[in-house]
C-alpha cells in the first residue's frame, strides 16, 4: 500500500474492479468485456454497472449462455489484437471452459513455439456461505493453477484487486482473475492515481513472529481476524497473502515460514488436492529444517457445499477455527 499522509479514498472491492476496468478501457481501445448480463445489468453482482453506458455495447457485450463458446471467442480475440476480459459469472462454471482455458489459451504460445500470444483475462468468482448450494459456491482455482501457461490472481483487498486487475489486463498471457463474491462490498483504501501491482509478488498483510498464516482471497480477511484473536491470546501471527497463485512468490512465503517456524495455509477451495497442498509443499520443501511442526492445511471440507446454513458454515474455515488451529500448532 502506498505511504501517504492524507487519508486515501475508500472503495469497495466491486468498485475497485470496475474502476480498474474503466481505466484500462479508456487507456487501451483493444480492451473489451464479454459475458452474460454484463451490459445493462452490469453482471449478476452489479459489479460492472455503468460501463456499457460509457463504452457502448461494442465493448461491453452481453452474450448468450454459452460459456465454452464465448471463452473460446475470447481466446481467439486475444490472439489477434484485442484484449478481452471474459466474465464467467460463477467460478463453478469452470467445468464448462477448462478445454478452452487449459487446452487452447494456456498452450497456444508454447505450441506455436512462442509465435502466437493469447492476451486475455478471465474474471470469475469464488466463495461459499452465500446459501447458493453446491453448484454456485465452489472455489475451483486449483484447476487453473495446475495448468502451465495460465496465471492465477486472487486479490484480497480493494487495493490489490485494482492494481492486480490492471496488471492482468496488460499481461500478454491468459490470466484467471478471481473475485470473492462475499468480498464485493468490502471497503478499503484505493488511491486515485494510476498504479499497478506486479503479478508474482506476495504481500505480508500483517507482521508477526510466532506463526505464519498464508491465506488467499476470501481467507485473508479470515486470517487477519484470526490474527486479532490470537493477539489476545499472546500469539503474534504473520499473515502472508501470495496474491497470485501463479506466478507464485515462493521466497516471501518461505522467508516468513523460516522466521516464525510454524505455518498454516488457508484457502477456500476444497482442501483435498487443492491449492493448500501446493503452498504447504513449497514450505516444507524449502523451510523443512526451520519448522517446529508440520505445515497445517485448512481448506473447504471434502464435501459438496450444502445449502443448509448451519451445514454450509461448517464447511469453510473461519476466524475461530483458524485461531484454534494456530493455538494448537503453537502448543497452546
Amino acid at each position: 500500500m502506498p505511504e501517504t499522509a492524507v487519508a486515501v479514498r475508500e472503495l469497495t472491492l466491486g468498485e475497485a474492479v470496475r474502476e480498474a476496468l474503466a481505466e484500462e478501457m479508456r487507456r487501451d481501445s483493444r480492451v473489451f468485456i464479454m459475458g452474460e448480463d454484463v451490459a445493462e445489468a452490469g453482471t449478476a453482482f452489479k459489479v460492472l454497472s455503468g460501463l456499457v453506458q460509457e463504452f457502448g455495447p461494442d465493448r461491453v457485450l452481453d452474450t448468450p449462455i454459452s460459456e465454452p463458446g464465448f471463452t473460446g471467442i475470447g481466446v481467439g480475440a486475444g490472439m489477434t489484437g484485442m484484449r478481452p476480459v471474459v466474465d464467467i459469472m460463477f467460478g463453478d462454471f469452470a467445468g464448462l471452459i477448462m478445454d478452452q482455458m487449459a487446452n487452447q489459451a494456456a498452450k497456444i504460445h508454447y505450441m506455436s513455439g512462442g509465435k502466437w500470444k493469447c492476451s486475455m483475462v478471465l474474471r470469475t468468482t469464488l466463495g461459499a456461505t452465500r446459501r447458493s448450494a453446491a453448484q454456485h459456491s465452489q472455489s475451483l482455482h486449483a484447476w487453473f493453477c495446475h495448468i502451465p501457461g495460465l496465471k492465477v490472481v486472487m486479490p484480497s483487498t480493494p487495493y490489490d484487486a485494482k492494481g492486480l486487475l490492471k496488471s492482468a489486463i496488460r499481461d500478454d498471457n491468459p490470466v484467471v482473475f478471481y473475485e470473492d463474491k462475499m468480498m464485493y462490498k468490502l471497503k478499503g483504501p484505493v488511491p486515485e492515481e494510476d498504479y499497478t501491482i506486479p503479478l508474482g509478488v506476495a504481500d505480508v498483510k500483517r507482521q508477526g513472529d510466532d506463526i505464519t498464516i498464508i491465506a488467499t482471497s476470501s481467507m485473508v480477511q479470515v486470517a487477519l481476524g484470526a490474527a486479532r484473536l490470537l493477539e489476545e491470546q499472546g500469539v503474534s501471527a504473520e499473515v502472508v497473502d501470495p496474491r497470485t497463485l501463479w506466478p507464485l512468490d515462493e521466497k516471501t512465503l518461505i522467508d516468513s515460514a523460516k522466521k516464525t517456524s510454524r505455518v498454516i495455509v488457508v484457502d477456500e477451495g476444497y482442501g483435498r488436492y487443492g491449492a493448500t497442498a501446493e503452498l504447504a509443499s513449497v514450505i516444507q520443501e524449502n523451510a523443512f529444517f526451520d519448522l517446529e511442526a508440520p505445515v497445517k492445511r485448512m481448506g473447504a471440507m471434502h464435501v459438496p457445499i450444502p445449502f443448509s446454513p448451519p451445514l454450509e458454515d461448517a464447511t469453510v474455515p473461519n476466524e475461530r477455527t483458524v485461531c484454534e488451529a494456530a493455538l494448537a500448532l503453537c502448543g497452546k
Partner: protein
C-alpha cells in the same frame, strides 16, 4: 406468441376432472411461490429463489401428461416442476429453508430439489445442466424396457449451451424417449432472447433429427394436449421431441430482482399479467364451459391456501440438520 398446434384436440377433449385438477395444481404453484416470495421478503429464507409465477400452465400441463413413474429434470426455476410432478408442499418448504425434513435433508435447497418417489431426477443450477441427465434417463428406460418417458425442462437460455444439441442428436440417433421442453419466457436473466439467439429456434430440433413443436404456454389444456401426443409417441418408441412453450415470468429473475425497467417495461409485464395469466385463462374457460362455478373455484383456492399455510408452518418449525450430518451422503 401462441401457436396453434396441429393435432391438438378441441378443449372439450380434455375431461373436466382433469381440467379442474390442473387448475388446482396451478393455483398450488402460484400460492406456493407467493409464499416463497414472502419468506424471502421477511428474511426468513436463506439465499435466493427463482419464482415460476406466470409459467404454471407448462409444468402442470406437461406433468399431467406423464405417468407417475415417468422422469423429469428441472431447473433453477424448478418449484413448479416439482410440485406438478407430485412433490409435497411441506417437504418442499422444508428444503427451501434448509431443514432436515426437506426433500434433500436441507443439503440441496431451492435449486436442487430431487425426489425418486415422484420421478424427479433433480432441479439443476447449471443452465442446461440436466440435458445430459434427462437423456441418460431416457437411455435407461429404453434399455430396461420399462416404458418410462423423461421430460427435460429448461429455459430458452439453455439454448445457448451446446450440450443441448449434442444430446438431442444422440437422442435422435438412438430414438430415446425424451421430451425437451423449452420454457421460452424470452429472458435469460436480464437479457432478451433476441440478443442471445440467432436463426430459428424451432428449426434447431429438426436440424438434429428431433421433431419440434411450439405451444401457447399460458394455456394448460394446449400444453397438456401436445405433451400427451409427444409422450405417447416417445413411449411407443418413436423417439424424442422438442416442445417450445411460449410464456412469461411475471416476477423478477429471482426474488431480489425488483427493479426491472432497465431490461423490460412495466407495460410488457402488465400486458402479460392481465391478458395471459395462465390461471385466469383457465378460470375463464372453466366458467365459460360451465365446468364448475366461481364458488367451487374459490373453494379450491382456499383449500390450497390452507395446505400452503400448513406446509410453511411445518417447515418453519422443523429443525435444521445437525452439523455432524455435513459429511454424510458424499459417497453412496
Amino acid at each position: 406468441m401462441s401457436t396453434v398446434i396441429a393435432g391438438s384436440p378441441p378443449d372439450s377433449a380434455i375431461d373436466n376432472k382433469l381440467f379442474l385438477r390442473m387448475y388446482r395444481r396451478m393455483v398450488m404453484i402460484r400460492l406456493f411461490e407467493e409464499q416463497v416470495n414472502d419468506l424471502y421478503t421477511r428474511a426468513l429464507m436463506p439465499g435466493l429463489a427463482h419464482l415460476y409465477i406466470g409459467e404454471e400452465a407448462i409444468a402442470v400441463g406437461v406433468c399431467e401428461a406423464l405417468r407417475a413413474d415417468d422422469y423429469i429434470t428441472s431447473t433453477h426455476r424448478g418449484h413448479g416442476h416439482c410440485l406438478a410432478k407430485g412433490a409435497a408442499i411441506d417437504r418442499m418448504f422444508a428444503e427451501l429453508l434448509g431443514k432436515e425434513a426437506g426433500y434433500c435433508k436441507g443439503k440441496g435447497g431451492s435449486m436442487h430439489i430431487a425426489d425418486p418417489d415422484t420421478g424427479n431426477l433433480g432441479a439443476n443450477a447449471i443452465v442446461a445442466g440436466s440435458a445430459g441427465i434427462a437423456t441418460g434417463a431416457a437411455f435407461s428406460s429404453k434399455r430396461l424396457g420399462n416404458g418410462r418417458v423423461t421430460v427435460c425442462f429448461f429455459g430458452e437460455g439453455a439454448l445457448g449451451q451446446g450440450v443441448v444439441y449434442e444430446v438431442m442428436n444422440m437422442a435422435a440417433l438412438w430414438k430415446l424417449p425424451v421430451i425437451y421442453v423449452c420454457e421460452n419466457n424470452m429472458y435469460n436473466e436480464y437479457t432478451h432472447i433476441s440478443e442471445t439467439a440467432a436463426g430459428d429456434i424451432l428449426a434447431r430440433g429438426p436440424a438434429f433429427g428431433v421433431p419440434s413443436e411450439s405451444v401457447d404456454g399460458q394455456d394448460v389444456r394446449a400444453v397438456y394436449a401436445v405433451t400427451k401426443r409427444l409422450v405417447d409417441r416417445a413411449r411407443k418408441g418413436e423417439g424424442p421431441a422438442f416442445l417450445m412453450a411460449n410464456t412469461y415470468r411475471f416476477m423478477g429473475h429471482h426474488v431480489g430482482d425488483i427493479s426491472r425497467e432497465y431490461y423490460r417495461s412495466k407495460q410488457e409485464e402488465q400486458k402479460w399479467k392481465s391478458e395471459r395469466d395462465p390461471i385466469k385463462v383457465a378460470t375463464e374457460a372453466i366458467l365459460a364451459q360451465k365446468i364448475t362455478d366461481q364458488a367451487a373455484l374459490d373453494q379450491i383456492q382456499s383449500e390450497v391456501k390452507a395446505e400452503i399455510e400448513n406446509g410453511v408452518q411445518f417447515a418453519m418449525a422443523a429443525p435444521y440438520p445437525n452439523v455432524d450430518k455435513v459429511e454424510q451422503d458424499v459417497y453412496a
